[in-house]
Amino acid sequence: MRFQLLIFLFSFSIYSANLFYVKGRVYINEKLSGKGTILKNNDVVKTDLKSLAIISTKSGSKIKLDEKSKLTLKDIDKEIEFVDLSLGQAFFNIVKKNILKNNHIKFKVKTNSTVMGVRGTEFFASYGKNNDIWMCVNEGIVTIKAENDSKETSVKKGEGVLVKNGKETSEPRPLPWTKNLNWSMNPSEKDLANKIKIQEAYKDELDYDYD
């Protein structure tokens, strides 16, 4: 009986997403939840102040949801995994086996105004001022399309974009502040929290005049 239960739990954990790591207060559908909580389609994950959650999907991809953030798991049991970030910021680490050989998108992130398609493995997305969206890529390539964009913009490793008012995607370029983002999703590390304030993103160092 115990063995059957283990088999059942094991198979369930393979085919479901779960809360892989929790710090502080994390809510699933407004209910305080802890590490190991099984997640299903349309579950809403919310983090409180000084809290964070790492979600592991069925494919092994991980999403680190920063403090004061909200993410809805739209389709996490389909071939194309799909999540909706509606508040705050999140790091995404998409396992390579989840990217098809023919370069098809296998993971999608929606915000209030953009859709991001993941061809790469590691990226960060955040809300800024006035519904702005910041996105930067640490590994691989991510495509992004905003409301007023006529076509998708491909953002490569080391580059980032700003979607001003959620409407138009800027030209991809290196963003100095993203160098200090905390990409780690390893729970054995001391601090997984992101220390970069999004205000830093608004300082365009190429526009900074000292003299």
């Binding site: 205000q199 830093e200 160092e205 190429l206 000292y210």
Partner: protein, 254 residues
């Protein structure tokens, strides 16, 4: 701690260069310790235009002090490129023409501290990010400098590299190193009128102001061209002032 020790190391290293030098023949060398203060006000009109007012004061150890005011602005052509124009006044600037016969048998420098002259600056600035072991900003600034009293034209070329250090997720300070070369266009018998190498820090306590110390080491050379020699001394001469400057920047942003 390393970030504090590093500039101090450079400062001490630079100061050790500032020893006295013996004048030889018609070439005179002077070594000086100077102080510089720069106060700037920036006003961003929109995403393209940034106005600036600058007050600069240099306290020279071996000659009269210089004070300069300058006002103008920069226009951002694209994310990497800016152009700018400024008008200003300077008091105390020394030119080759200021080497004059004094009442004593010797020649000497005229005191120019109360002499004002107007100038025009046209500039272009190119900047880019460089992702090395950390993110750096590379900059190349070209300034065309025209003074009107003596009609001197100078091209100033200044490459600069800087990197910003974050603390608690926000910009804490920027470390910069730059080198500026002054190329005389219509005066001097020298190819290089002056050069300065700077090492400095800019702290960012608030979005509305920055401050920081810097140290610079360099030299200025006064050496008349043939026309001026014929008009004045009838003899070739050269005067070099090598200096170490300790400076302080204070910037306000509106």
């Amino acid at each position: 701690m390393i970030m504090i020790k590093l500039p101090l190391f450079f400062l001490i290293s630079f100061l050790t260069f500032a020893h006295d030098h013996v004048p030889a023949g018609d070439e005179k060398h002077v070594h000086a310790h100077d102080y510089q203060f720069d106060l700037r006000f920036f006003k961003k009109i929109n995403s393209k235009i940034n106005l600036m007012f600058e007050l600069e004061n240099i306290v020279h150890e071996k000659r009269n002090n210089e004070t300069q005011i300058m006002a103008g602005g920069k226009y951002r052509v694209n994310s990497h490129f800016k152009i700018g124009a400024y008008l200003g006044s300077i008091w105390g600037m020394r030119h080759d023409e200021d080497w004059v016969k004094t009442q004593s048998p010797d020649w000497g420098w005229r005191n120019t501290s109360s002499r004002d002259e107007q100038f025009l600056v046209l500039e272009s600035i190119w900047r880019d990010n460089y992702d090395l072991f950390r993110m750096f900003i590379g900059e190349l600034r070209l300034r065309f400098f025209q003074t009107f009293r003596f009609d001197k034209q100078t091209l100033r070329i200044r490459p600069k590299i800087s990197t910003t250090i974050l603390k608690d997720g926000l910009a804490f300070c920027t470390l910069f190193i730059m080198h500026e070369r002054y190329l005389p266009i219509n005066y001097s018998s020298e190819d290089l009128y002056a050069y300065w190498t700077y090492l400095g820090l800019m702290f960012h306590p608030q979005a509305s102001f920055d401050w920081g110390p810097f140290v610079s080491i360099g030299q200025e050379v006064w050496s008349p061209d043939d026309a001026l020699i014929r008009k004045t001394t009838n003899d070739n001469w050269k005067s070099v002032e090598e200096a170490v400057r300790l400076g302080f920047n204070l910037n306000f942003y509106y």
